[in-house]
Symmetry: C2
Subunit: 687 residues, 2 copies
């Protein structure tokens, strides 16, 4: 047996608890790597990034079997002491400078861990582990010298291999083109930006910091973008905008028709979305105080038609059976190949789809909500112009899609608008007076508390008047109109009602939600008969799709419902159920999570392992073709009424007035009209 010449020390890293014997004189940073503990470090030991702070725990040694009590590490240099004082961390050490000379228990604070966690800002406050695909490292490269012919890229590769253990790297041509100038400008010290640990996408002179990414959910009607700091996971800016493709058709089928009917149809729609994304990148970058060219990666989700058009692939095959995708898997494409003006070497990751009509947006919602990790049977409904529905738990999962149309996103609604300041998002109608009170985005107080008019001081008046109605608002107002008896169960305006809030044009009524003085334009905001019809068609399509999926699974009820949707504020589950948007369920088990697809895109941007999970899940979920199912039409027609007429809804008890103001159910489940008396409303007997 040979004798060990270098003594070993027991080293334990907390909080991970990883332990092992480490040769004396090893840098703490290297010891951590040997034991699989990832400590953040960009500068690689140059005492510039100050990311790798650790703390030696003095008190707790005995219980971990460490007995020595002092001098676990080499003493700090003056430079290190100066730095730590500047960082107000005098009790810490820099792991790239301190060497192990005795047993040590080392605590790695949260901010020094290579893979941090960020709390997702959503209803469910999920934790996102930070494993971005893009990272920066600082490296010193050998000077070019006469008689040494590796070339600058060869020299950089050698430095990255020796100091960061990175091998088999490629370099993007635009980066290579400026490599020589940047190496010399940085005096052979550069910050390298790496993608997927395999491609060099930037080389900047000297020590630099800053990696940013953009997550985008391209909806048929709304595009939502999140600009994130890839080092912290923080959202720096959020922006949503209309999808400019609506010019070419409001829903997917009309976009597909446009591509089919016009030779340049695809190109026009592709250009429109690319230009929109360029504006989105510009405005989020501006809001975050960075340059658009600093966005080094983007993750894109969207329904299949949207991702096809985004990639420049003609969506016509998605317009008819068998709804064949060009590609179901995730893809990486250079931003510049699509005309996206991000960092010149930025990559775009498009999440995978599940089937012809269930796209990357649904996969994104899945990796955000993870119903596949739960015992409870969950129904995940992502409401948009095309609704995606997923049903299942950890053992099985079915998906379907339903062409709801854009009504829930405020399109096809007279005063519909996206969720922006001034959009009506909450509505209550007094069943006695039929007057509405509402709340708009950007204003805390309800409209009945607004102080409007010259008699009030300017500072007391609301900042935002009503400008329109967003998705959650339209759902509430239609449900409230029904509860107040303004709408009949079949969706018609009650023709017996004559009231100042209801205007009649021939036989088509419209209801005044906001009066002239409450709006930005000075004209009232109304909900028309056609608006109501469009909401009915949308909710019926959604319900029918869900119903068929439940039939497929031989289920009559679900444990949980997750309501997702990119259309502004969260839907109130109660109104969703009154409207018959969702199935009967214990309301305590219904959650609205907002833009889950956008959240999923952001999660995939921040965590590369979730991309792999997305690919696995996309192949695992079984898609059920509901739109062409022979029962679809029947279920659709059955779901037109307010609320659903033929299915039992025990959980609606207590939500609907009992008896209903103007209707009751007859013996066979069909409702019959019921006379309703109200002092302030003039009613007439129906003939």
């Amino acid at each position: 047996m040979h004798e060990e010449t270098t003594p070993n020390h027991l080293v334990i890293f907390m909080p991970s608890g990883r332990r092992g014997r480490i040769a004396s004189g090893t840098l703490v940073l290297d010891a951590a790597r040997q034991l699989g503990v990832e400590i953040e470090s960009i500068c690689g030991g140059r005492l510039t990034c100050n990311k790798c702070r650790i703390r030696v725990e003095e008190g707790q040694f005995a219980k971990h079997g460490i007995t020595s009590a002092q001098s676990h590490l080499t003493p700090a240099s003056d430079e290190e002491i100066r730095l730590l004082e500047k960082l107000e961390s005098p009790d810490c050490r820099l792991s790239c400078n301190a060497k192990i000379v005795d047993d040590a228990l080392i605590f790695v604070p949260e901010e020094s861990r290579a893979h941090k966690q960020v709390v997702r800002k959503a209803a469910t406050d999920r934790i996102i582990d930070l494993f971005p695909t893009v990272r920066q490292i600082f490296v010193e490269v050998d000077n070019a010298e006469l008689g040494e012919h590796r070339g600058d890229w060869g020299r950089l590769q050698d430095a990255l291999a020796a100091k960061w253990n990175l091998h088999n790297l490629t370099i993007d041509l635009p980066v290579l083109r400026e490599l020589q100038a940047n190496l010399r400008k940085g005096k052979w010290s550069v910050t390298v930006t790496l993608w997927q640990e395999r491609e060099v996408i930037d080389v900047q002179p000297g020590y630099q910091e800053g990696v940013y990414g953009l997550a985008v959910d391209i909806g048929s009607t709304t595009i939502a973008g999140f600009l994130c700091d890839l080092r912290t996971g923080e959202i720096l800016a959020t922006e949503s905008m209309m999808n400019p493709q609506v010019t070419y058709g409001e829903d997917l089928m009309s976009r597909i028709s446009f591509a089919m009917m016009h030779n340049d149809g695809l190109e026009k729609m592709h250009t429109a979305v690319i230009e929109a994304l360029n504006r989105l990148a510009a405005s989020t970058a501006r809001a975050a105080g960075i340059r658009q060219r600093q966005i080094q990666e983007a993750v894109i989700v969207g329904n299949t038609t949207m991702t096809h058009i985004f990639l420049g692939i003609n969506p016509i095959e998605l317009g008819g059976a068998p709804f064949a995708l060009a590609n179901r898997d995730s893809m990486n494409v250079k931003a510049r190949a699509l005309g996206l003006r991000l960092h010149r070497s930025a990559n775009i990751h498009v999440l995978p789809a599940e089937a012809g009509h269930v796209g990357a947006d649904n996969v994104a919602a899945l990796i955000a909500e993870e119903p596949y990790n739960q015992e409870a049977v969950t129904l995940l409904v992502d409401v948009g112009t095309n609704a995606e529905i997923v049903l299942g738990n950890k053992a099985w999962m079915l998906s379907a899609s339903s062409p709801t149309g854009p009504a829930f996103e405020g399109a096809q609604i007279r005063f519909g608008m996206r969720a922006a300041p001034g959009a009506i998002e909450r509505v209550r109608i007094d069943p006695e007076t039929l007057a509405a009170r509402f709340r708009v985005i950007g204003e805390d107080s309800w409209s009945d508390a607004w102080q409007i008019g010259p008699q009030f001081p300017v500072e007391a008046q609301p900042q935002h008047l009503a400008a329109g109605i967003c998705g959650s608002g339209i759902i509430e107002v239609v449900a409230e109109m029904f509860l107040a008896g303004i709408l009949l169960p079949d969706g018609r305006f009650n023709p017996t009602l004559h009231h100042e809030r209801i205007r009649w044009d021939e036989r088509r009524g419209e209801y005044i939600v906001a009066t002239a003085e409450q709006t930005t334009t000075g004209s009232p905001i109304v909900v028309t008969q056609e608006d109501v019809r469009n909401i009915q068609l949308a909710k019926a399509a959604l319900y029918a799709g869900t119903k068929l999926l439940m039939n497929e699974a031989k289920l009559t009820h679900v444990d949980r419902i997750v309501l997702a949707g990119a259309f502004g504020s969260y839907i109130d589950p109660k109104y969703a159920m009154i409207l018959g948007l969702i199935h009967d369920c214990d309301l305590a088990q219904v959650t609205a999570v907002g833009n889950a697809a956008g959240d999923g895109a952001r999660i995939a941007l921040l965590n590369k392992h979730k991309r792999e999970e997305a690919q696995r899940i996309s192949e695992w979920v079984r898609y059920v073709e509901t739109a062409v199912h022979p029962d679809f039409q029947q279920e659709f027609v059955g779901a037109i009424h307010l609320p659903h007429a033929t299915d039992p809804f025990p959980h609606l008890n207590g939500l609907l007035p009992d008896p209903m103001p103007n209707l009751e159910l007859n013996g066979n489940g069909r409702r019959k009209r019921r006379r309703r008396r109200n002092k302030k409303i003039t009613t007439k007997e129906e003939k």
Copy 2:
């Protein structure tokens, strides 16, 4: 032990001799694959490509241990018989249709072998093994069906995996964009073009044939291109053109200066070469009768400045010590990333360089000539505007470069031109009459046999008159002028000569090579004093570089000299030695191989293994910095004279007239003038 249910047969493939036991009923094609014998097949057994013909050898069984004499294969179907008759191969079988049912000795004819060989059309007639990186395969893909969601690309991948054992493929975005249309157009049968067995670069409907590649040598002065059929290795078209960058500087240093002095200098030169290559691709494609968009790969070689500019990399670092390359290794880049109009998904392979001044062109010359596989010490000189010199054998190899200037390529020569019809390529001067006779490219007869003038019928007159002098012509004419006494050893026109062939402008002479009636313009073609000076400077730079390399290797002579050069026809080694272009060597061991760099580019285009060899060799050769060597100036000055004045040239004995017409060597190796008498020439004694 389990009993074998399927009988095995002994199968031997010739000429490889590979043998093994094959299960009964196995297709001959599959049996070949199992035994590692590669048989050509594009259609994969669809009886359309007819590439896989084999022959069963009936007579020779006994000696190979095969005893049965008949019915080795299943009988041919009517379709197969019809096809084979059409192909006039009635004694063959198609290996994709015939199954093995008994022991068999199978001969695979040359044309059916997957890796054919082509004879290189060059002086040395080397054999090139055909292993192109691009190949086509025919595949039938599952139809898209409702309820099956792989996507078209997924379906194609599955088909390629199942039928061709191809995995982990990627698809180029433009191909994906048209995948769905092409699959349907071909009724789910398509021809896939693969690059490097890993990227799908084309999908065409139905069964298609045709893969083409372009090999290009970008010289400082001349660009040469070879369009090849990648299935046969055949050269379909050859074209050479001026490098349009000469507008920005004649030699490398002036190009580098131009990039340094002008902000848009790089861009201008990059655009110029890309446009030239686009013209080259267009004209070679036209000549070959294919479309430019059918060129699916290109291999580029050139000196380091040329490849840097071609890739859009600023060459300024190559302009001064330490002459750092941006990248020394080989690269693959999409043609479209550079603006090259080839196939939309074509890749460009740039061969590696060796050092700052020894580029991919020299590596190409090396893999063409393979001096590294030989025992003999070879000096490989690639003459161009920048000359690359390699010295060595299988054990060691040194390289150097010398800035010769563009004189050898016909630039800086009054009547210089590239090797095109009408270029003077051979010259003889009668030492008695001082009259020249010459041969031009495109004309078999020497000029003294030309029948010019109204007295001769048109069909008897030469097709091409003299238009200028190409590289090999200028070397011969200067050497002949020296042999004839027109030039003194120091390169001056002999001032004592007065002759109708020599014109004097002040004290600068010029020699009439072609008389007015022999030229296309009607004016004489002359060689001026300045032309001679430029040739002297070029050959001295070349010689000095070679000399320093030989000093480095401590050699005074070499076994072989290989003279390469892109400047038209082959250099006559005799004249090269008289001029002092090369070192003393047994003339039988001096070969001129023409454009070896272009040959190497073509070899790399046709054989991917040679690309790997190029990468290995480029790292192995040791570069010697000669241009900045302290002895360079001295060697350069010593090499200015005609022939070399200070080195011994025993092999010139018998080539130079003895005694020299007008000179002899004095005791210390310096020549002294010698009186020369000639009846027809008026000579004057020098003072």
